[in-house]
Amino acid sequence: MKTIRIGSGAGFSGDRIEPAVELAEHGKLDFLVFECLAERTIALAQQRRLRDPADGYDPGLEARLEAVLPICAAKGVRIISNMGAANPLAAQSKVVEVARRLDLPGLKVAAVTGDDVMPAVVDGDFAVAENSQPVRALGNRLISANAYLGAAPIVEALRVGADIVLTGRVADPALFCAPLIHAFGWAWDDWFHLGQGTLVGHLLECAGQITGGYFADPGRKSVPDLARLGFPIAEVSTDGAIVITKVPGSGGAVTVRTCKEQLLYEIHDPAAYMTPDVVADFSAVEVNEIGPDRVAISGATGRARPEKLKVSLGYRDGFVGEGQISYAGTGAVARGKLALEIVCERFRLLGLEPLELRGELIGINSLFPSREVDDPGHVSEVRVRVTGRTETFEDALRIGNEVETLYTNGPAAGGGVTKSAREVIAVLSTFIPRGLARPEIDYAVT
């Protein structure tokens, strides 16, 4: 029986690069996949593209490809990634440039476009899924609209022989499901296997989160050599059987517990995990250890794909300002609370009315707002945090400034002020008919 080995080289845009190199070198891989596009990332990338038409792809693309491309080219490992972000064609040019610099001729680099559905969404009559308001009401605050494409264009690029496939927005699991569909020839209505392939994608898409990352809890859950955390490999057989493992000798662990945590991560209803290719059902999945750092995962299935495509809408949503200051020793909490009262009173005196305001003491109630502040027991230090949403950048700056003035105008012994102000790019979603997204593939050879 044929077995395909897929490695997960990144779980987010800022992820470590060394584990991907380790996977390329020692993973005996057929495919290496980099998932680097979070909900809002593509809207931020779209803004960079508006400023510079040659930009808008993942800022880590060049460093990642420089690190893994010589190894992957030598070993015949094919690369799939959504690092194309808002500009897959520019990403393609960059990869061609990197490959030529590294003297790696003859590699076929595919760029998948067509996820950008901004014109269709602006012209159409769609409702925002979260609040039922018309998308049109966002007006010129709307800066991006990207449909979640499925596996089909990636499968096509692999069929044509691409060594590297760069996409913009596609459903994360599709990056991993596509090489399986390509390798095994699964049909587009083979919901059972598409469900299994989607499970592979879901398990791998957060990279180290299944090999012991986001898991260790000293005293209860230990993870060996977490500093050298290795990234996962899925071994998938023709019949859809899945084994999760990692490079022998790498840090971390693949256990029933690490796999169960990732299996159910962020999926809401386990029987209805929606992707553009299939509605996957993980509700009967079983997880069994079959060897050291080897876990078999079985029992996923699926049913017919959704009619419509989900679209991620990036929009300008005002500004946020923030300031922080620390207090220590006896009375730290009381001085922190006094500082919060003073800042709020000064906002009132200055006529600054944030649309939303939050004041808290880090170390007491910043992560758990309902927690009692009055009697926290002895704490040796607290950090005041004030943050607010405003309509203008200038007002956002004033929030941090009024924390900074606590140095000489606030309680005793406040130190270590930091402040910031930023524009908020927020994300909403809508659903469109499939026909409005028209994927295209462009090829270049190094």
Binding site: R257, H268, D269, T301, D317, S370, A426, S429
Partner: protein, 123 residues
């Protein structure tokens, strides 16, 4: 005792929805978790954080209970003012929930609690 003594947990997010899954370390403790960690207890524990309904899914073969908390992330990671905009820390906060030390007492206390099943059964 706290749930932390018998279970581990992971938090995730999608938009304004927090997704918390609780796993019994040992199968023998699963029924006890189901009895003790009810939707109402989770709602009370996360008062001030969760504003909409909480869905609950049981996966006995994994020893897992999933809670889906709508409208619980201050508008979602892209616009929340919270320090932990993803709600990543919620899993640890959930494990702080106190449960009774006597498993028999816990089981009888939770007999009338109903939970959602995953929306479809396996084929």
């Amino acid at each position: 005792m706290k749930i932390h003594d018998i279970a581990h947990a992971r938090a995730g997010d999608k938009g304004d929805t927090s997704d918390l899954t609780l796993f019994a370390y040992h199968p023998r403790d699963f029924d006890r978790l189901v009895a003790e960690v009810t939707v109402e207890r989770v709602r009370t524990h996360f008062a001030g954080i969760v504003h909409e309904e909480i869905e609950c899914y049981l996966l006995p073969q994994l020893g897992a209970i999933k809670f889906v908390l709508r409208d619980a992330l201050g508008g979602g990671v892209t616009r929340s003012l919270a320090l932990d905009a993803h709600g990543k820390c919620y899993s640890s906060l959930l494990l702080d929930l106190e449960i009774s030390a006597d498993p028999v007492e816990a089981r009888s206390a939770g007999q009338d609690i109903t939970h959602h099943q995953p929306s479809t059964q396996k084929p």
